[in-house]
Symmetry: C2
Subunit: 209 residues, 2 copies
């Protein structure tokens, strides 16, 4: 599709309880759409066996994290299960200015904090599981989590879901292909918002002479 | 796609200058999506040769039009080129309450008037032609208009385009398939807005028990 008009990138936030499919949808969205890049969070928690530094997270120590907070180098940060997480500011601002979109895989605290500072650039989606039973089944088959962590995440899921009504869009993930199609439609629509296409001012001036 | 959650229908408004492709896009959208119906306007102007009463417009006389205005049976009405046009209220309200969407093929005056009364239910799209030359070419090849009407519509096009910045979304119609895909993405996204899915309240209550 042609895209000759100058536009400002947008921040697409995906949140959900663990196990609702957010990570799969995020990965497939990034594969399918070259116009959006992932915001890689920094964290002080240790990497899981399958995680790659700089791809899944940038793994940093507490001193480096504290320095980023002090220097206002994080758009938002929060503590979850005793570990610290944050969103580096510089790559996000560079992408938006270049007309590229940025995907955020964050929880409700992250979404809310981003909204406080960047509301005009934000489109937020909450992904719900089709049922509690399906949510637990998905958490159990991920395997890399211990039973204790599964129980902790199930307990946390209710708290996360309680914030569904702070989001612009809600997608119920009954089928991952359908949910991905819906998320992509939201991204397409948000790109077509008048306010995200600053190039239209000059284009319309050319049309009407 | 499954759609078990109760939702409230939305009003999708398409506006553009004559010749920008709005009517083709509307017709193809209605063919492609059974969930949206066209709001058929009433008008006092005589039918064109290819127009069907009750499909393109409901053709009524001035006395009947005035009676609808008096009885507040029109959501909006306006006068264009000496003819009166209006949007009947009852079919729109019935469709929205039943969770069906309604498409409006109206000009900026109609869009603005609908917005005054029904803003929360509205999503508005302005369709731009790719260039002034292409707009005139499309008007000339429609043939059913006289040269005088083409000149009048070209003159009016500038006035219509001047209102592009009152719309939520802007689609540049370089290619009708691409424009249709974009309009459908907007419709899909608007249906996923949290506020348009009142059934989610009960669904989430079931999830979190």
């Amino acid at each position: 599709m042609s895209e000759p008009l100058r536009r400002r990138g947008l921040m697409l936030v995906l949140s959900s309880p663990s196990g609702a499919g957010k990570t799969t949808i995020s990965r497939r969205l990034l594969e399918a759409d070259a116009g959006i890049v992932l915001s890689v969070s920094v964290t002080t928690r240790p990497p899981r066996p399958n995680e790659v530094d700089g791809r899944d997270y940038s793994f940093i120590d507490k001193a480096a994290f504290d320095r980023m907070v002090r220097e206002d180098a994080l758009l938002e940060h929060a503590e979850v299960f005793g570990h610290h997480y944050g969103t580096p500011r510089a790559p996000v601002e560079a992408a938006l200015a270049a007309g590229r979109d940025v995907l955020f895989d964050v929880d409700w605290q992250g979404a809310r904090a981003l909204g406080v500072r960047m509301r005009a650039d934000l489109a937020t989606i909450f992904i719900l599981p089709p049922s509690t039973a399906e949510l637990e089944r998905r958490l159990r088959t991920r395997r890399q989590d211990t039973d204790e962590t599964v129980r902790a995440r199930m307990a946390k899921a209710g708290g996360e879901i309680a914030h569904w009504d702070e989001y612009d869009y809600v997608v119920v993930n009954r089928d991952v292909d359908e949910a991905l199609t819906q998320v992509r439609a939201i991204l397409t629509a948000e790109r077509l918002r008048r306010a995200r296409q600053p190039g239209l001012v000059a284009f319309v001036k050319g049309l009407t002479g």
